[in-house]
């Protein structure tokens, strides 16, 4: 089991460009989460899916950010018109999806996004 796989590990974009981050959850896991990590804000919840359906996107900035899960083997986080304040490590996590909020989250190593 390779764990949660996130690609790319590092991404550098210019201000105003689009960035797409990819996540492959652990096989068999039905819940996928996106978090953003910065020194100042720490670990911030963005959104999560269960059985590919979006369940809670309360942490997503309403403009420019969108997440999808087109199939059970991958999810994407897209940031349009990137801004320097979007620079962060974006973490994807998955869980079995059967035990509710008390389940273990398995995190990937993250994608470090740098917006110049």
């Amino acid at each position: 089991n390779a764990g949660v796989i996130q690609t790319p590990r590092h991404k550098v974009t210019g201000k105003g460009q689009e960035a797409t981050l990819w996540c492959e959850p652990i096989s068999g896991h039905s819940a996928v989460f996106w978090y953003r990590q910065t020194i100042v804000q720490g670990l911030e919840f963005l959104t999560y899916f269960r059985n590919q359906a979006p369940i809670d996107d309360s942490g997503m900035p309403k403009e420019r950010f969108s997440a999808q899960m087109p199939n059970q083997s991958h999810s994407t986080l897209k940031i349009q018109s990137t801004q320097p304040q979007d620079s962060a490590v974006y973490l994807c996590a998955s869980s079995a999806g059967t035990g509710g909020a008390a389940e273990t989250l398995y995190f990937g190593s993250g994608t470090r996004l740098t917006v110049l």
Partner: protein
């Protein structure tokens, strides 16, 4: 508004000492409290967790003490080892509600050999 607070921000102990990491929360509906450990360049990984029906959870050298009345908990790492040097995050959730975990800002622990 920080719903989960951690202190200290950083902590240095000598090998063999006990490290104590503190956490407090505001929302009385929180009933599940995991601690995650993160090494540089990696994502957080679950270390140990406790539910609000318990006041103590032990796993080897790691123990969580939980005080529901004061909305406080602490992680004790006994016989600290240099390999324990990492950032530790306290988190909380309402297990009957949204599945999002609310994380604290973390404590960076350094264990000196």
């Amino acid at each position: 508004q920080q719903q989960v607070r951690q202190s200290p921000q950083s902590l240095t102990v000598w090998e063999g000492e006990t490290a104590i990491l503190n956490c407090s929360y505001e929302d009385s509906t929180f009933n599940y409290f995991p601690w995650y450990q993160q090494f540089p360049g990696e994502g957080p990984a679950l270390l140990i967790s406790i539910r609000s029906v318990s006041d103590k959870k032990e796993d080897g050298r790691f123990t969580i003490f939980f005080n529901k009345r004061e909305k406080k908990l602490s992680l004790h790492i006994t016989d600290s080892q240099p390999g324990d040097s990492a950032t530790y995050f306290c988190a909380a959730s309402d297990s009957s509600g949204s599945w999002q975990l609310i994380f604290g800002s973390g404590t960076q622990l350094t264990v000196m050999p």
